[in-house]
């Protein structure tokens, strides 16, 4: 298993200028590695900074310190430093991200939303739509809803569309933020199967979840993020440690 991602000392501190420059810690000194075909789960209580880690790696957030060395098709880059133009290209070609909540324009059909990312990669339209349909079908979205906007869907259906649009490209690195949080048991299993299928093909997956059972089913390793409060000073210390499993 070749290493594809090495995160070192990742730290994010938000500076809130509207609150007089108040600083809030998002995550602090997070380090881990990830190999091709490996699934690393990130677990921990709400607000501990799990999503922040993903967003810093995807560059939706500007990290305050640290490095994230990623072995791209064209060589190793520090994702936290590469030019914006390169990040956009990596997002288009290699790195997929499933946000916690789907955000779409309410005028675009689910089929189009899911096909979008492979259309951007240059896939021909009818084959892209076929592929999108196949995924939606597999994830149990009724065919009569495909031409409606996902904005009109239920929470669980939206989350499945969200997963489908990211995995359709078969990315080399996949960042998943609570991909199964609002799903019923059957849909959850389907999503797990898709993740494992990608893993088989060599995709490296970083999966944030607070659902231990989910992580135990798909993750090879689990990174646990924790806050420890000091009762005396009120100061919060963050810890990250790997927990053994399997």
């Amino acid at each position: 298993m070749a290493e594809i991602l090495r995160v070192l000392g990742l730290t994010k501190i938000f500076k809130l200028h509207l609150l007089g420059g108040k600083e809030v810690i998002g995550c602090k000194d997070i380090s881990f590695t990830l190999g091709t075909g490996e699934v690393l789960g990130i677990q921990g209580p709400s607000g501990v900074g799990k999503s922040t880690v993903l967003k810093c790696i995807y560059r939706s957030y500007v990290a305050s310190a640290g490095q994230a060395f990623y072995r791209s098709i064209n060589g190793v880059v520090d994702l936290l430093q590469v030019p914006e133009r390169d990040i956009l290209e990596l997002r288009r070609q290699e790195i997929g991200y499933v946000s916690q909540f789907l955000r779409v324009v309410p005028r675009v059909s689910a089929l189009q939303v899911v096909a979008e990312s492979i259309l951007l990669q240059g896939r021909e339209e009818s084959s892209a739509l076929r592929e999108a349909g196949r995924l939606l079908m597999y994830l149990g979205i009724p065919k009569e809803l495909w031409d409606a906007s996902p904005a009109t869907y239920s929470g669980g259906q939206q989350q499945r569309v969200n997963v489908a649009r990211a995995i359709i490209t078969c990315p080399r690195l996949l960042l998943l933020d609570e991909p199964t949080a609002s799903l019923d048991e059957q849909a959850k299993q389907r999503v797990h199967e898709l993740i494992l299928e990608l893993k088989q093909k060599g995709t490296a997956v970083l999966m944030v979840s607070h659902d231990r059972a989910s992580l135990e089913q798909v993750a090879d390793r689990i990174l646990f993020l924790d806050c420890v409060g000091d009762n005396q000073t009120g100061e919060v210390t963050r810890r990250a440690f790997e927990v053994a499993h399997h």
């Binding site: 500076k15 967003k55 590469v82 914006e84 390169d86 990040i87 956009l88």
Partner: protein, 280 residues
């Protein structure tokens, strides 16, 4: 990463209205919160603006009224002369010469052959008492296409592309709705397949359903034609929908640049934080 040259490189662009003095740029800007030089009372509309734009990219410029975003585009489209700075455009002399310093004839050539512009106000981009087809013909004539049949064919094709009914081709835009005027303007801007298109607040003032239709059209055309665009808007919703990267301007300066999602989710500059927190 494979390196490619930018389509447009802008360096230290400035536009000052008034006599200007040596203190103009140091005593204006976001720190002092004013555009007016306290020594010579010149207005510094924008200064020190630098950025790169790559082919196929859509760059947003966002900021409040008076932040200098329109002035920036007017300088690049030669509507207004830049006071200082350089701009290198790959489509003009392979990006080797500063286009802001070239002759009037060359500027006219660049404007008519290599650029398209869509203004907020259709009155600025269209002659409302010339037919829709005639407006498009004007742009084609300026670029040296004189064959009437060819012009009419191209005009029809463009109007179809921008969803203007063909039977309106020989009608006057004066009697069109705001949304349709804007679509004619887009057709005109795209007439010569320009490598670079500017959109200045194109949907401001349109009601929401018309706005959505115009934005969807722009998005569709961008994908189909691989357009490179600079989109100016004070509306973060428009910026989110259309752009990949953003420049945030305040008091004539760029205060922050970033990926569009990063600017919206993790704005760094106090002004950007205020702007994002003011979103509906």
């Amino acid at each position: 990463m494979p390196k490619e040259e930018p389509l447009l490189r802008v360096r230290r662009l400035a536009r000052i209205f008034g006599s200007g003095c040596s203190k103009c740029t140091s005593c204006t800007g976001p720190l002092t919160g004013t555009n007016i030089c306290s020594y010579c009372h010149s207005i510094v509309a924008c200064a020190g603006v630098s950025f790169d734009l790559y082919a196929g990219e859509i760059l947003g410029v966002v900021g409040e009224s008076g932040s200098g975003k329109s002035t920036l585009v007017q300088c690049l489209y030669f509507d207004s002369p830049a006071t200082a700075g350089e701009a290198y455009f790959k489509a003009y002399k392979d990006g080797q010469a500063n286009m802001l310093a070239c002759s009037v004839q060359e500027k006219r050539y660049i404007r008519h052959h290599l650029m398209g512009m869509v203004y907020q106000n259709p009155q600025q981009g269209l002659k409302l008492d010339f037919t829709a087809g005639g407006n498009i013909a004007e742009k084609l004539l300026a670029a040296g296409i004189y064959h009437v049949g060819q012009i009419r064919r191209r005009a029809a094709e463009l109007l179809q592309c921008t969803e203007v009914p063909l039977e309106r081709m020989d009608h006057l835009p004066r009697f069109f709705s705001g949304g349709m005027q804007q679509r004619v303007q887009i057709a005109k801007a795209l007439a010569n397949n320009p490598p670079l298109v500017f959109l200045d607040e194109v949907t401001t003032g349109l009601d929401v359903s018309v706005q959505a239709r115009v934005l969807d059209l722009i998005k569709k055309l961008q994908r189909k034609l691989g357009l490179t665009m600079i989109v100016i808007s004070h509306d973060l919703g428009v910026i989110r929908l259309l752009t990949n990267r953003v420049l945030v301007m305040k008091s004539g300066r760029v205060v922050e640049t970033g990926l569009t999602d990063q600017i919206l989710e993790d704005p760094q500059h106090p002004y950007t934080q205020l702007l994002v927190s003011s979103m509906l």
